[in-house]
């Protein structure tokens, strides 16, 4: 296996992009990543595209060749592959791209993530989101994805004394960071009182505990680390890329306040990279619902089990924290275009490691962690990235 580096990154604005089509945003992100990597499309060996639900969201399957075609690559008959893993589709595509370069099968690949959610009504988007849980044994009985995370939240509160205010602080933090990100869906700051007073979705979670339905795309260009200096002064090495699964339905877990797939993927990633959670300065952690990053911080090993609520509320994970969590604003504020999320996390972390994150820069960031989750945790993907010096 060869060492793999991220050579270029690109991203569209996230949000309600009424005037822009799926193919437009997909291509924009990819071309920006190519330009950033100082490569031309002729250098590419393959395209991997993370996408969760184009078939139901825009009535279009078979989207990898579609994006390749409109990027001008159909004439070269470039291999183009779509990857799906619920909300973790983007990170899963990145894993496939990593394997493709590490194996030596291809030298340079582009990994994109794209999703267009606003072409369907919100109720439809809610149902499509729920399809990442177990349809037959959860959704048929009235579950939605926020309802399932609401069950997790209530259980965490019951076992560990986590409070409603501590959950609210997670969203307040996300919007604070989003205010510093020009690509974010939401750039407004919010208060704990606003989160607590927002209409309920699935108690204890309210509207402001839930990430929005967003459109958006992100892309990265990967290549062999040994050739990375030809393309960039600041190559970012992928120190680990790990995928793990767990039971499809929340009800079948042995624990309801811990995601086994996250624990396993993080443990393996740290072991492979010979690092520990304390070595990480900046992390992008799955935060579709306010309870998610609390569970995530515990499962990833950043805090003791049950302690994430008070630790988060203490401000430990703010800009400059140990580590800084979700400087992009996360899914809550930057936005949640499912398949784009996992790739956008890495775009943000590469910018952080290069020292290009401007207002939201974590000073001296050397090791970064990305954590993307599908459904209630049936798929977890962890990437460790570091500045290759």
């Amino acid at each position: 296996m060869r060492e793999v580096a991220v050579l270029g990154v690109g991203q569209t604005k996230f949000g309600e992009l009424w005037d822009r089509s799926f193919r437009e945003i997909g291509i924009e992100a990819g071309l920006h990543a190519l330009i950033d990597a100082k490569l031309s499309s002729a250098d590419l060996g393959a395209l991997f595209l993370g996408n969760m639900a184009s078939g139901t969201l825009i009535d279009q399957e078979h989207i990898a060749p579609l994006i390749a075609d409109y990027a001008g690559l159909a004439g070269r008959h470039l291999p183009a592959v779509r990857v799906e893993g619920g909300g973790a589709s983007g990170a899963l595509a990145l894993h496939q791209g990593y394997l493709a370069v590490a194996s030596g099968a291809y030298d340079y690949v582009v990994v994109g993530g794209a999703e267009k959610l606003t072409d369907v009504p919100d109720a439809t988007a809610t149902q499509i989101t729920a399809s990442t849980a177990d349809h037959e044994w959860e959704v048929v009985f009235g579950a939605t994805l926020p309802a399932l995370w609401g069950l997790v939240a209530r259980r965490h509160m019951h076992l560990y004394g986590t409070t409603r205010e501590q959950l609210a602080r997670v969203s307040v933090h996300a919007h604070e960071m989003g205010s510093k990100n020009p690509n974010a869906h939401y750039r407004n700051r919010i208060t704990v009182e606003q989160v607590l007073g927002a209409p309920p979705i699935a108690e204890p979670l309210g509207v402001l505990d839930c990430a929005p339905f967003s459109d958006g795309a992100a892309a990265v260009v990967l290549g062999p680390l040994e050739e990375a200096r030809q393309h960039t002064d600041t190559p970012i090495r992928i120190a680990a890329s790990v995928v793990a699964c767990d039971t499809m339905a929340l009800q079948h877990r042995k624990e309801f306040t811990s995601v086994g797939a996250t624990v396993e993927s993080a443990r393996t990633a740290f072991r492979r990279a010979r690092r520990a959670p304390a070595d990480v300065q900046v992390a992008e952690i799955h935060d579709a619902y306010s309870i998610c990053p609390l569970i995530g911080l515990e499962d990833l090993g950043f805090v003791e089990r049950g302690r994430a609520g008070p630790e988060f509320a203490s401000g430990r994970f703010a800009l400059g924290g140990t580590p800084t969590v979700n400087p992009s604003g996360g899914e809550k504020a930057q936005g949640r275009p499912f398949g784009a999320v996992g790739v956008a996390q890495v775009v943000e972390l590469v910018r952080q490691l290069r020292g290009e994150a401007k207002e939201r820069q974590v000073s001296g960031a050397k090791l970064a962690l990305a954590h993307d989750l599908g459904g209630t945790g049936a798929t977890s993907v962890v990437h460790l990235l570091e500045r290759a010096n």
Binding site: W137, V140, F141, G142, I201, A202, E203
Partner: protein
């Protein structure tokens, strides 16, 4: 959802038919063809036998849903819970016949046979289990007390052409 897709699960959804691994004794709902608990999963193939849940259990966690799943629009707000059955498996289902303010973790409940949702005014009606407080007389007969038999097919309402 097609009629067949819902109908083929009626032994589970109407009657809480699970399965049990004859090697390690673990009970599953819904039934599984392979036992995840056995170290050598293949050994459990063809050794999983049908097992009837009693429908009795307790609430592990609950949420009050205000933005519903499709087909549940008329029921909001509704209580959804994780219920650990006395036999072990945890089920996701609504808790009914109780004021949401009275729900608490640890509440004893029993399964009750109810209408889950309708596919529009002329569509298929889906039935299955919900849960009611165990000491609540209005909770209806528990699924196990009702009958050990499994319906041979969909009820009349589902058979009639929509």
């Amino acid at each position: 959802m097609s009629i067949a897709r819902f109908w083929r699960e009626t032994p589970r959804r109407y009657n809480l038919g699970g399965s049990k691994c004859t090697t390690c004794g673990t009970v599953y709902f819904p039934p599984r063809p392979v036992c995840p608990e056995c170290t050598h999963h293949r050994q459990s193939i063809e050794k999983m036998v049908p097992f009837q849940l009693s429908g009795a259990g307790e609430v592990l966690s609950y949420t009050v849903v205000h933005e519903p799943a499709e087909g549940f629009e008329m029921q909001v707000p509704y209580v959804l819970a994780l219920v650990r059955t006395d036999e072990g498996p945890v089920l996701t289902g609504q808790v009914v016949d109780v004021d949401p303010a009275q729900i608490a973790i640890g509440l004893r409940v029993r399964a009750t046979f109810r209408k889950l949702r309708e596919e529009g005014a002329a569509g298929v009606i889906h039935y299955g289990y919900k849960f009611a407080p165990a000491d609540e007389p209005g909770g209806g007969p528990s699924t196990a007390a009702r009958s050990g038999t499994v319906p041979a097919g969909p009820p009349a309402a589902e058979r009639s052409p929509a």
